[in-house]
């Protein structure tokens, strides 16, 4: 059996490849991708690159271990017992029944709108009274000021901003069926 004797060129190429793998630029690039490896969204090629680099780089290894420790201590969620879950559901349902007499969401939504409209209508009547009956008798004020002008200038302040709905990445069919 012939022994493999590496040629000078082969040795040099290998040396260059090794140097490239641990060069500061390569290392920095890979370091940027370290967390992406933990999070998951790496292409197969990138994953191979990072996984190949990791065993030979103590700095990257320590950064990964350090983050795993931080995440474990600061972001570990406690387990909830079934009893705690039942109790929580009961509390929410009790709050819903006392707050709105368990109306349908649409009805309670209409009531919520009305709750805002009542004081708004009251304020509008008060403002109209001031504009039509109080201000015309006040010297130095222009008689051309009108309620319409006032509200058209300020109508943007009455626009509501509904809860934003974002495009779905995956639809929760079961939940949607439950809601409908």
């Amino acid at each position: 059996m012939r022994r493999f004797i590496p040629s000078r060129t082969w040795r040099e190429n290998r040396k260059t490849r090794k140097a490239e793998d641990n060069s500061p630029m390569k290392h920095e690039e890979i370091k940027q991708k370290l967390f992406a490896l933990l999070d998951g969204p790496l292409s197969e090629q990138e994953r191979t690159l990072v996984e190949k680099h990791l065993p030979s780089c103590p700095e990257c290894q320590s950064a990964t271990e350090e983050w795993k420790k931080i995440s474990g201590v600061l972001f570990t969620q406690p387990a909830f017992s079934e009893a705690a879950e039942d109790q929580f559901v009961s509390k929410v349902m009790a709050r819903l029944s006392t707050a709105s007499g368990l109306q349908t969401p649409a009805a309670s939504s209409r009531w919520n709108t009305l709750q805002w409209l009542i004081p708004l209508a009251g304020s509008a009547v008060a403002a109209a009274w001031v504009f039509f009956f109080v201000l015309p008798g006040t010297p130095g004020l222009s008689s051309t000021a009108s309620v319409e002008n006032y509200f058209s200038d300020n109508e943007t302040s009455f626009s509501s901003s509904p809860v934003g709905i974002v495009p779905a990445s995956a639809t929760d069919d079961m939940v949607v069926a439950l809601i409908k």
């Binding site: 940027q32 967390f35 992406a36 999070d39 998951g40 969204p41 950064a63 350090e66 983050w67 420790k69 931080i70 995440s71 474990g72 201590v73 600061l74 972001f75 570990t76 969620q77 406690p78 909830f80 879950e85 929580f88 559901v89 509390k91 929410v92 349902m93 709050r95 819903l96 029944s97 707050a99 709105s100 368990l102 109306q103 349908t104 969401p105 649409a106 309670s108 939504s109 919520n112 509904p162 809860v163 934003g164 709905i165 974002v166 495009p167 779905a168 990445s169 995956a170 639809t171 929760d172 939940v175 949607v176 069926a177 439950l178 809601i179 409908k180």
Partner: protein
């Protein structure tokens, strides 16, 4: 079903998402009482907002968005809460934090440690705390985080990287070998 008044169905929905919402609230608020109250408020709010949910988007994304906004509101309303400075944290709780990271077991669920965790996380800006909670505590993918926070994928990657860097930087002395932390304490007059 829920929209037509079958409220028991809403109970099932609450049960299904209880762990996610409660866990998220705990990570954000680090206080069991506050977290439970916030989680209840969120489910009441969600019930009343159901007519606005069109069903053409992910329900969990919509729920996370409401949850995130509510938790941020609670954090802002906490009068006693102020951003803890890093120096004050090291001065007051240095030994305890060092202990927290030196034990092998994950002890963050204990009540006294929860308060300490809250102090550590309150050294971060709110947006960093939010994105780290979504990723680390709830395990949301980058695309889901982008949908919840209504920002681009690149913004998620960038903010997450900055948040991690800052948290690591803040905890540098507690994660290094013990002598580094002890030396830092001795440096102080």
């Amino acid at each position: 079903m829920i929209r037509s008044g079958q409220t028991e169905a809403y109970g099932d929905l609450v049960r299904q998402y209880h762990k996610k919402v409660m866990g998220y609230c705990l990570s954000m608020l680090s206080n069991h009482t506050d977290a439970e109250e916030a989680a209840q408020d969120i489910f009441v709010k969600v019930y009343h907002s159901l007519p606005k949910f069109k069903g053409d988007s992910s329900f969990s994304t919509w729920l996370y968005r409401i949850t995130t906004n509510h938790c941020l509101d609670v954090l802002r309303k906490r009068t006693r809460r102020k951003t803890t400075s890093l120096d004050a944290l090291v001065e007051q709780d240095g030994d305890r934090i060092h202990g927290l990271f030196s034990t092998a077991e994950v002890a963050a669920t204990r009540l006294e440690n929860r308060q300490l965790v809250d102090k550590i996380l309150s050294t971060l800006p709110e947006d960093y705390r939010t994105i780290l909670t979504l990723r680390e505590a709830d395990g949301l993918e980058y695309t889901e985080i982008a949908a919840v926070l209504h920002c681009s994928l690149d913004a998620v990657k960038g903010r997450l990287a900055r948040a991690r860097k800052q948290l690591q930087e803040n905890l540098r002395h507690f994660l290094s070998p013990a002598d580094v932390y002890i030396n830092k304490r001795q440096e102080k007059p």
